[in-house]
Assembly symmetry: C2
Homo-oligomer: 322 residues x 2
Amino acid sequence: MFFIISYKYRSAMPGGQQRKKDMARSDARYREAYNTLLDHCATLPPGAVLPAESALSAIAGVSRTVIRRCLSRLEETGLISWDGRDKRILRTPAPEDRIVLADGHGASDDLERRFLDWILRFDVPANTPLSVAELSRNFDVPQHELKEFLAGLSRFGLVARRKQGGWMLLGFTREFAVELSDFRTVLELNAISHVIDAPVDHPVWPRLREIRAAHLALRSRIDTDFHEFSKLDEAFHEAVNSVVKNRFVAEFQKVISLIFHYHYMWDKTHEKIRNAAAIGEHLAIIDALEARDGDAARDAARRHLKTSKTTLLSSLRAHEFA
Amino acid sequence: MFFIISYKYRSAMPGGQQRKKDMARSDARYREAYNTLLDHCATLPPGAVLPAESALSAIAGVSRTVIRRCLSRLEETGLISWDGRDKRILRTPAPEDRIVLADGHGASDDLERRFLDWILRFDVPANTPLSVAELSRNFDVPQHELKEFLAGLSRFGLVARRKQGGWMLLGFTREFAVELSDFRTVLELNAISHVIDAPVDHPVWPRLREIRAAHLALRSRIDTDFHEFSKLDEAFHEAVNSVVKNRFVAEFQKVISLIFHYHYMWDKTHEKIRNAAAIGEHLAIIDALEARDGDAARDAARRHLKTSKTTLLSSLRAHEFA
DNA sequence: GTATCGCTTTTAATTATTTAATACTGTTTT
DNA sequence: AAAACAGTATTAAATAATTAAAAGCGATAC
């Protein structure tokens, strides 16, 4: 009983805002909901009656508990009157009525990309112990999120738990690269087969035509713009794999394409020659696909993936001896 | 300063054992290390000098911090004398000197199997909200372990976060089953190709011969023992896939085989006929493999996997209308 | 000079606390 | 009477706080 009522008075305590120390869980949800409610009130004239608590909870996308906390504050601030079901707007909310949102970690969503980026860019060696505390600081993400993220990565065999606690980076070893390349080949050849069977009105066909044109255009100015190939490579493989509608394939493809993409970008040895050759390989695949010649397409793809694998491995070797 | 010294006296406090409430983290590591050290002491005669702290930490596989805590207790119990580097055994340890290991959650390792078992056995519907607290109670696993586990599963698209917090079971929908089957087909056909290329002295060949014999034996008594097929099915697919040495494939295969295995066990409709047919399909694959006929093997495998897919889907449909 | 120790600092596992979500219950409104 | 609603109680999720363990760092003994 007291528990609920106390909401009404809590924010009236000295300081107004809660001390950070007391907040086991952030009240960001409440703050956002409050502002959303303000916006809603702004659309109504003074004297208007507010809808039911459950209706408001639907509007703000939060539970009734949060709504009641918001209403308490609205009443207290003098924005509304509140007695049971009767909730009336007293005055139109002003900009200064909003509560500031404690700047949360907006960084969380991008974590995977930034983490892989870090590993590949700084060439973090295999068997490096990963400190959750340190990663948390560097990536500006709460520790528990990082733990969940690492738990997810462990499913890909990229990291593993250490017996003495914490985590350890397993890849990027030679074995990892080989197995990744092999797995990519399996997925990609399957995708090629799917493209061959795609109906004539499938969006992949115009997309491939565009990509072919882009390849030809880049080939004509390869001497100067060879570094643009990386983007083209990603687009090509994305187009081919887009035909396969499979959540498992998609999940892996995300990681695979990221890793290959970065290696293409950073391995600068013979970059121009490599990219020129890859353009040729891509065009061969597209030719075979458009001719609906499955065997030829798979052969061409196999050749291209073999080149990719070799490139990936040699870039690892280069780092090893660096 | 006081913090560390207190180790020496803490265990002398009333009760001897720490109150559970005070233990933010379990001291299981210390307890195990202590017993290990006792075992080590038992091999030495009284009066013998114990090795350096770092050496002991290597023996017990823990940090020096834990070793020092153990030494404190050993000294206190009168088992050793300890003054700086001088550590001598005073008497041979007796069985009652061991500390009891607080029975921890030995349940953690088996979590994946038990979780999938639960989903499939009780036919938990798609879009069911999963409560970490409840799962934690039912599976007798700490909450944070469950969160990490669910984070891992989300990589397979089996579960996902909810915006209002917590997790939600996504599969087992029809789409999930279709995509899982398709993915399994891709992996399995690849495995078949690998088997074909395996050298004559590869262990897969004798294994397949054994499995063929087991199939023939079961076929002769299929009328009574048809339910034994489930084990045979698992053995067959495991043998074929064992040829592919790939961490990504292996990780998926674990989940896939579990799911198909359970469905074979529980879908009781036409079980005898289904299993008899599957035996024939398996034998056809084995025949083609032993004849080193890649195309025939892949065709046979495709037929078998198609049957499997149909069975999986119809078992889902059966549940839907139940 | 180097191996080892005492002590300090840092990290990770786990509990505890706070906020939010949900379930339940009786009352009011239609 | 039935539906909608607010008040209350319970439960869960996020995250801070706490403790065990690990790692690090001079000092010291050999």
